[in-house]
């Protein structure tokens, strides 16, 4: 039997590092906004994780305002909080690219160094790859957003 997972790192502080815990204890942009033009919501019925996302973008499809309310585990909360910071000022097309990089990183695909750099703090979530069951927690808010903006780009 081959068991890749056997070699996994399991030090708790590596999973819940300071940055992640900080995001989860002090979630950024944790609010509703006025006059959002993009609204989306998702639930993962298995664990009850829930994401409510509101955005305002301008005519060039650039994000001007972000509000995200996320319920669930620390990983989902941290990922949502990071998302809210990362997408600010980006165009929908740029967000779509960021998602693809993030998704690839979480799915063991080869991603170039300079691409990964674009993810900023999101890189910290790479460790979650070793807990496959929780990859969904990382991706929930991102996937929710991308499914919604898909129609605009």
């Amino acid at each position: 039997m081959q068991l890749n997972i056997l070699l996994m790192t399991n030090n708790l502080d590596q999973i819940y590092d300071e940055v992640i815990l900080n995001h989860c204890k002090n979630p950024r942009n944790n609010r509703t906004i006025l006059n959002p033009n993009i609204i989306c919501k998702a639930i993962n019925p298995f664990c009850g994780d829930e994401v409510n996302l509101e955005l305002r973008s301008n005519s060039k499809n650039t994000i001007l305002l972000v509000g995200i309310k996320s319920i669930g585990c620390a990983i989902n909360q941290a990922s949502s909080s990071m998302l809210s910071e990362l997408i600010y000022g980006k165009t929908l097309t740029e967000i779509f690219r960021l998602y693809n990089i993030f998704d690839s990183m979480m799915k063991e695909k080869n991603v170039k160094e300079n691409e990964l750099n674009k993810l900023g703090e999101l890189n910290r979530l790479k460790i979650i790859k070793e807990h496959p069951i929780r990859i969904k927690c990382c991706l929930l808010s991102w996937k929710t957003l991308v499914d919604e903006i898909n129609i605009y780009i």
């Binding site: 030090n11 708790l12 009850g48 994780d49």
Partner: protein, 410 residues
């Protein structure tokens, strides 16, 4: 009193380290660990007897058949079934309930009939009845629960009424630990002429089961939750019902005569066992039952009452979490579902895993129940014969550490 040290020595996996810490296995409601005698029975079978069963005239086939049918007899005795023909091998509890819903239900449920389950059913004892109710135009009726996780029987005589055709109830809830009043419910079902199915997935492993005493019409349980291997389960059917049930899966082994046009059915219980059965695992389940009976089902229940009282006492002292289910160990098994607003079950699961403790998090296949508690998911610790008070201590300590970890800044 169980000799826990001796018992623990029989379970090789318990000496495993998880993340450098000794394994504390508290996920027994999901599946239990296996003693060496059960593991050896698989090895023995495949190195010495392996053959297909029934109708073989060669030695291996006769020996396999003998062992296979001996295991069936053992199961029959274990639940006090008078006839071994009443024992049908299934893959698991889920298949057993599906078999009843199809082989008995499709024929006997007519438009307007009512099917009764409780609010604490596992999806496996809910979804098959939803489907049956839909296809046969019947109504599914739910017995509600009280805040303490016991069944609310206030309106039971309205719920179980002359339209009721079957009452299907979990014996011990896998989410709440509640042990339901089976005698009473079965009697009420029979009084209105309805059948009674007992979901013994969580009870058969943990307490004496007696189909004659309960007088239930169907009983289902899974081998893997009672020291047996995965892939084998049991459906007990009362003899007179068995005779009138249509087959479910069809094909080899379950037929008597086949022409190109039609087939007739083999004798019981083969009529319900199509294709090559899970021979080795059925025999290994027989071995698991030998192991359980050696300890004694009464003794196992006592041990778990002791652990339950101990854990209830510990949980009572924690004020940052909510424990679900009744607080009286005489109507509760060793299953502890709880929720804390300070920590998400997933994070707790990961934290405890880092301490070597295996618990389950989520809705435990009782999604409507968990939703009715207005929480997304619970954390669940569940005990078995090899668990100790020391393990409970360490678990409670780690639980408190976890809440600290996620609430205070580092």
């Amino acid at each position: 009193m169980l000799d826990i040290n001796k018992i623990r020595n029989d379970f090789p996996i318990l000496s495993r380290k998880i993340n450098g810490k000794p394994l504390i296995y508290f996920d027994n409601a999901a599946t239990t660990q296996k003693p060496i005698s059960v593991i050896n029975s698989l090895t023995d079978f495949y190195t010495t007897y392996n053959s297909n069963v029934h109708r073989g005239v060669h030695t291996l086939s006769m020996q396999s058949t003998d062992l296979f049918e001996e295991a069936r007899n053992r199961v029959a005795k274990f639940i006090n079934s008078q006839r071994s023909e009443s024992i049908i091998w299934t893959r698991n509890t889920t298949e057993g309930i599906n078999l009843v819903a199809n082989a008995w239900g499709k024929k006997n449920i007519t438009p307007g009939d009512e099917i009764v389950v409780t609010a604490m059913e596992h999806h496996s004892n809910l979804v098959p009845w939803q489907i049956l109710a839909e296809t046969n135009k019947a109504k599914l009726v739910i017995i509600p629960i009280n805040d303490d996780g016991t069944l609310n029987l206030n309106n039971i005589d309205t719920i179980i009424n002359s339209k009721t055709k079957i009452v299907s109830v979990v014996h011990m809830s896998n989410s709440l630990g509640t042990i339901n009043p089976i005698h009473e419910l079965c009697e009420k079902a029979h009084k209105v002429g309805a059948k009674f199915l007992l979901d013994g997935a969580q009870s058969a492993p943990h307490m004496p089961i007696n189909v004659k005493d309960y007088d239930c019409d169907f009983l289902v349980f899974s081998g893997h939750k009672m020291l047996g291997p995965t892939g084998i389960g049991v459906l007990y059917v009362k003899p007179d019902i068995l005779e009138n049930m249509e087959p479910f899966l069809t094909g080899g082994e379950m037929v008597l005569e086949v022409s190109y046009e039609k087939a007739s059915w083999n004798e019981l219980p083969m009529k319900f066992e199509a294709g090559t059965p899970n021979i080795a695992d059925a025999i290994a389940l027989g071995e698991a039952i030998i192991y359980l009976e050696k300890i004694g089902m009464e003794q196992i229940r006592e041990h778990e009452i002791e652990l339950t009282n101990y854990a209830l006492n510990k949980f009572e002292k924690l004020n940052n979490l909510t424990l679900f289910g009744p607080l009286d160990s005489s109507i509760r098994g060793g299953i502890f579902s709880f929720h804390s607003e300070y920590i998400h079950p997933h994070d707790l699961g990961t934290f405890l895993d880092n301490e070597g403790i295996a618990i389950r998090t989520g809705h435990h296949c009782t999604m409507p129940l968990i939703r009715s508690l207005n929480i997304p998911a619970t954390s669940r610790a569940s005990f078995y014969i090899y668990n100790t008070k020391d393990e409970i201590d360490y678990f409670i300590q780690s639980l408190q550490n976890a809440i600290k970890y996620f609430t205070h800044d580092k």
